[in-house]
Symmetry: D2
Subunit: 352 residues, 4 copies
């Protein structure tokens, strides 16, 4: 396999050296289990330093677990979640959210490029509330940053969404599987893009950005601390040797390692976007703001690229489109050479 | 901390060198995610070689997850689980089983030393069935090997339990969090102590025996393969970088590493038992058959031992007893010297 | 209140005399509880005579319970339900389906007037299956007859839907809250509109058509009988004095009472439709095929009609429309005079 | 069948004339659905008059539904319920409680004759809390009045239990399936035996005491009103024609009808107890305090009694006993003659 030439996903990367070193450093002697270890204690402090506020930091192994734990801890089962119909938690998590929440349904919205607006939120909530007990009660707004189409909300947009949600009595959950990439896009602090704009609970991902298997629920709601603690255990998510999860996060945060990794992936994506814009063989579906590129090109070109060792996913096209659509994801551990080789390969393709 | 002197649990150990090496070996280049990697493919073969039969091997990160996934995959929610009232899944998993199974209750039994008998199983099932739809339908017998009191069923006992269960239309689940320790006690093959006696689904643990975070559902029921696959995903248990879970298991099985680790822990426990039997300051509650020792001694002795750097858990005494009860667990990474120092410390204690 | 002038719903009617008499007939002496009574035994026979085939007939008290019991009994929790986005079970049952099914999500479709087509079903299933374990597995197609817009599928349409579903490995559930009204529309037998076209499990309603509180799951899947029986009990739906539920159904079926009631409601709806078609003050949104009429008219007219004692629900308009939309429902216990009075009132209204 | 001679259960009775009349009175004209009817409005007032305080009165059709709705509305899914191991909700409701509560387990206690004590509650809670997140968090104490062995707590006993629970941070649920019988035993007011001693939520039964199908959740916790309302709907328990449920309750409460019925059943039980005490052929297992009699006698006598048209249930004997045990239940609609005939039949039996 041409490791460098695969654009299928950012979860195909190995552990970054810095995070691996943190794991190795934790591997000495005994440590109390279930989060009562030295590394877990350090992590709480480190996370509060990174986010510049009080919080609960609850590490788990997968992004689906983080989303399901975060949302179920904010809901009674008769309450529901507002989110975009393209949300990862709706389309790619095999019903984990209604499983964890004992049946909380989704209230789906349809904003452009996976982005929600206060107006759509308000009218959706009002419609649901008008049905009284015949409809689940809206309780949480979930937004993804970066979202499923690689778009990044501005701080103003985020603030408007959070303000609208809070006015309507909703809590705000942010799916931050690619939080680092969004952060580097906006060049702001973690606090500014989360608690600062009003996010109540964040699912924070590290696995796509260099970790082995490290995701977390970051809760800014002290009143739900107990709910997250008990629910993590009963979902089978509490590791006994918690030090290895904590260590990954410590390595991730140290010396801004995570921001460097995310910046690297974003730069590669920008380089790819800039090149593709020049090429008539392809059409970019939307602006590239993080490390995902959605691009239309022919099946013939796809075949040829794959023959050269490149890889990427075919992606379901939006309803209005008919051209084949592909998703490319760039990674912290790729080279500029891989990008340039891809562009070169596309440019040499002649249809017909 | 005196690492060597802690007998609190076998999950306080670090990763064993052999398993760590397997993780490091997997950390090169890209790998397809969600179990489509090279190491996961090897693991399926390795596991079938270890158990000498067809099986589904489904790695997860925690023992609670393994138990909950295994049991929920065997049940409709109106069916129930027979097990001992001291079962870990009843007392220490925060309701994970009824959560995963959407409310399947436990039917509890009370056999001596945590061991079940065919007679108690038969009468419990008959009583439940006599209530028709007013009582959940018995469907799975869950037994622990080694069990929660460190006892190990003989192969004959296991076969009698499985035969009885199958006659009654039940499947058999084995909680093998310390399967390796039981295996070394009986000096039999993995197949002999699982599929050979009739176990249908096994929760197999590696974390207490040297892994970082590796447990698995081992299913001998091909008809439930799909259930386990989908349920793992929707529970948030499917890692994206699955290669690191698979690698732990490969290192665990290679060159009988797991059996060596388990044998080591058992030998230390036997050495401890032999020594304690000579000492009037303590009373062993039951025979030591794996790596757990349950022993009564005074609070004064406990205090003195802890002052010397030893540690262990206080344990809820059985109903008929009043003396303080303690649990000591030995580990693969401990020294004989630690055992001897403990015995020495006890022997020098004078009540008065 | 002008009882006759309310068009809000068909569940505002009293018990019809025939059904009340059946209840009174059952009210003598003792009867074994939980369905072991004489009336329940008769009901099984009566239902098999009505549907001309083997079936399980499982009475419950509400339509939401019937739908949730029916669907949950057909699903493992990692499987999902295909249905129209306007389906009652999605919009008006407060999450009952994912509650009963332990989190099975809906896969929503958008066909015109609430009607589904084989093509949309096929492409939706294929898309979901292409995601493997990342998406819940499609298992049940649920259709409503009559549907939420008062439309009635022809037998050919039903057969095409069922054939398509079965080819794709799905079971078919029919929400028959207004099954009787659809039956009278098509002038066919109950068998022809259910098992005959391929329906596997039917939610059959009587409450909107003259009963006190009688709905049922009618299962043509003998292999699921146990699932429905146990699930009814654990959901708290099994009455102890079951004779009164059974009696309602016996009165409902006797002498085609249900068909007479449904025919009456349909005729009143047809009379209303015919009249409204002549009036420029209103616009019928779609053909009237059962006992629901969806009609656009001004808020001013609505106010005036309500001042005259008429009543009806405002209804959320489809996305493409802006005019105020109203739903009118006719009932077995209404008079032609009420219809004519309504038409008269509309005709006299002058906008401006 | 000899209706009068059946002692199997109090749910084999027909509807009492007073309650039937209330149903008939409600059967005129249209009424708004889903609880917005005139009878439901009256019921709220009537219930507050009966219980002499503010409350939510939430009618449902079955006792299992009332218990499951009551308990699930008081719990987060990681919290658990303390109750007696013989509790109806543990043994006879097919897992309804963990279904409704999304997996809340039971913490079982073993007090004599099904009665709990503050000491056992306190030690059970302390043990569970000592396990932290590894054990579900104790949240609700559930007691039955009268309990499953027909015993009735005194007001002092109830107050001690409630005080103990509240000190420990628990809410108190009372299963009042036979609340009326207990009330008549103690000759106290409904308030005195519920809110007055500290009960937080009551499951109140009417079906065993003359209603057709009427149970209710009576909540004294205003902060949970929304939870009960939404949960009733999503469980499929909210009738559309709610007037008929409300009417049963109105007839039940009117002119102390319920107390007369319960007093009648209790008197018959007392008459039976007094007679049996004189007879050497039988042994009463415990004092009769409501309308259930648990009595040991030989299988030969049972056979002979059944040949005479009497009926009763065989009952699982407590662990320490070996004699066949039978449960007899008296009903409001039975005659003294039936009691006397039973006594006569027993007295004539000669073992040999």
């Amino acid at each position: 396999m041409h490791h460098d030439r695969s654009f299928t996903s950012d979860n195909i990367s190995p552990i970054s050296p810095e995070i691996l070193e943190a794991i190795l450093n934790a591997n000495h002697g005994t440590q109390a289990s279930y989060g009562n270890d030295e590394w877990s204690r350090q992590l709480t402090q480190a996370a509060q330093a990174v986010f510049e506020c009080e919080l609960e930091f609850i590490p788990v192994s997968t992004g689906t677990a983080a989303n399901a734990l975060a949302l179920s801890g904010m809901l009674e089962p008769f309450e529901c979640i507002l989110c975009h119909e393209s949300a990862h938690l709706v389309t790619d998590e095999c019903g984990a959210i209604p499983f964890y929440s004992a049946g909380s349904p989704f209230l789906l919205m349809k904003g452009t490029d996976g982005k929600l607006t206060p107006n759509e939120i308000r009218s959706t909530v009002e419609r649901a509330l008008s049905l009284g007990i015949h409809h689940s009660k809206p309780k949480v707004l979930s937004i993804a940053q970066a979202n499923e189409w690689g778009r990044v909300y501005t701080l103003d947009e985020l603030k408007a969404l959070c303000d609208c949600a809070h006015e309507l009595g909703l809590w705000v959950h942010m799916d931050g599987a690619r939080f680092g990439n969004a952060l580097e896009r906006l060049h702001v602090s973690p606090h500014a893009m989360s608690r600062g704009v009003g996010v109540d609970v964040l699912s924070l991902g590290a696995t796509k950005n260099g970790a082995m298997a490290a995701e977390a629920v970051v809760s800014f709601l002290p009143e739900r601390a107990q709910a997250f603690g008990y629910r993590r255990k009963r979902a089978g998510l509490l590791h006994s040797k918690m030090r290895y999860l904590a260590a990954q996060w410590l390595g991730y945060f140290q010396h801004d390692h995570w921001r460097h990794n995310a910046a690297r992936a974003n730069q590669l994506a920008a380089r790819l976007e800039a090149g593709l814009k020049q090429l008539p063989q392809v059409r970019l579906l939307m602006p590239v703001e993080a490390n995902e590129i959605f691009v239309e090109f022919s099946n013939a070109l796809a075949t040829q690229l794959r023959a050269l060792g490149f890889d990427f996913y075919d992606w379901p096209a939006p309803a209005e489109s008919t051209a084949p659509l592909w998703r490319l994801v760039t990674r912290f551990d790729q080279s500029e050479a891989a990008i340039d080789a891809f562009l070169q390969a596309v440019s040499q393709f002649q249809n017909g």
